[in-house]
Symmetry: C2
Subunit: 284 residues, 2 copies
């Protein structure tokens, strides 16, 4: 088989070009919303690209999906209704379903991401889309969340970058709608860009949320295939502070739930919120 390369488009980090040696292209389609590609690699397993940018690789998707999900669900402790915006690959859904929840809504704008992921990336979604607790909506996430008030315990926003179809998910109006859609002890998590190269984007999400939520914290996950450093995540909470929760409670719940996480553990939970000086300064 002829060895080949798949190069990421360079609209995020324009000074950097990253190519993956691929064994074969498994799927490639231009949908109404974006270009979807799924490629087989040796070192990273299968990789899902949207508009030419890595979204999830089998080798390390657990880091992103666990950190997007478990931090909020663990501090909430008894979340029943979860909303996932984006996340068509099903990785966050898989993590959410490890908890005793009642309903997980997944709102994905592009049905073809879900279909291709279920077909070719079932290692990520496992059997999550067949779980009875799951409701899938093929809709614009921005419009979807507007319709709800005081309904969700946790909202997880698995957006792609602030360009392309996810642009609205980085607006103040969206964060206000998320606030309204959450119950009084609700928690939201937003994917917010690379800590060192997208500091402005991270700061923008942080500041917009600070005007809406009483508790807003930055934490991060180092996801190898997102390259160029850590991915910044923002947790916005109405009541529960993720850094002040009792370590003992977290330890107890973590053991009891037997989540089988490969990255997340209660020590990582707290360590993820510890910011280096340059990030503290950037957020000031």
């Amino acid at each position: 088989m002829k060895k080949n390369w798949f190069f990421e488009t360079d609209n995020v980090v324009s000074d950097l070009r990253v190519g993956y040696r691929i064994k074969r292209k498994i799927f490639s389609k231009k949908t109404e919303f974006q270009q979807i590609d799924i490629c087989q690699t040796d070192k990273f397993g299968k990789i899902l690209f949207l508009d030419g940018l890595t979204q999830a690789a089998e080798r390390d998707e657990f880091i992103y999906h666990e950190m997007m999900t478990q931090v909020a669900l663990m501090i909430h402790g008894s979340a029943k209704k979860i909303l996932i915006i984006g996340g068509g690959d099903g990785g966050i859904l898989r993590e959410v379903l490890k908890h005793k929840i009642e309903e997980a809504y997944l709102v994905e704008i592009d049905n073809e991401v879900i279909e291709a992921s279920q077909k070719y990336l079932s290692t990520i979604s496992k059997n999550s889309f067949n779980d009875k607790r799951v409701k899938v909506y093929i809709e614009n996430g921005f419009n979807f969340v507007k319709q709800y008030a005081n309904y969700f315990d946790v909202i997880l926003v698995d957006s792609s970058d602030p360009i392309g179809p996810a642009k609205e998910l980085f607006s103040s109006q969206f964060y206000k709608n998320v606030f309204k859609a959450l119950k009084k002890d609700g928690i939201a998590v937003f994917q917010s860009g690379l800590t060192i190269l997208q500091k402005k984007e991270l700061k923008s999400v942080y500041e917009k949320n600070k005007k809406i939520f009483p508790i807003v914290k930055v934490y991060y996950a180092s996801v190898p295939t997102y390259l160029v450093g850590d991915l910044g995540l923002i947790l916005a909470s109405k009541k529960i502070d993720p850094t002040r929760i009792s370590k003992k409670t977290l330890d107890k719940n973590y053991k009891k739930l037997n989540l089988g996480t490969k990255y997340y553990n209660p020590e990582i939970h707290f360590a993820a919120f510890v910011l280096p000086n340059y990030l503290k300064d950037a957020l000031r």
Copy 2:
């Protein structure tokens, strides 16, 4: 000016190809030991490549150099004699000289790395090579350390990868020599490869040191331009456990020393030693 690209060689992560858009090539030379290139980029500043692999970029070198240096020096508290093996760019030296030390030996195999770095990367070394406390030896680090016993407080091994001229610096015999060269409360730090893609190398350094030093701990730093996740560092210590030192003492010394670090702080110190599950498992 014509825009150009510099692609890293792919001998570490063979499925990945990374290119930097460069404004110009500042220096390029094949020395007795390796190929040295220094390129100017927009987003990352100047980058030093050895044998086609990124060693230091102006934009984020502080992360690597602070984490290689400050963790050991802060827990030691009164280190006077320091040995740096490698580190010809002077970044570790700069960090070491922020402390009240008496002597910093820098042993670099390739004089041309030092010369080129002083000439073109003075933002990294600052004026460190002119400090009276500094002694530079152009020698093989493996042979150099053999000659010492009970002499150094801290030894920092800023090796390149376990291929090329740094190969001997990943051997058990080298670690034994380092142990011998350290005083009875001495501490060594070894650059040990990427945590997710070079798990075997990391485990190998860890296990070899475990047979020699009473205290061996893995910690990590996320250095954007090293790409593909975190860089694993190994701290091997004769007496002081970096995770059991008093936070209060660390806070006090950190304030007193006024290190001006952009990444390191006492919270990061402890967080850096918190391992995700997959790494704990890998080291078991």
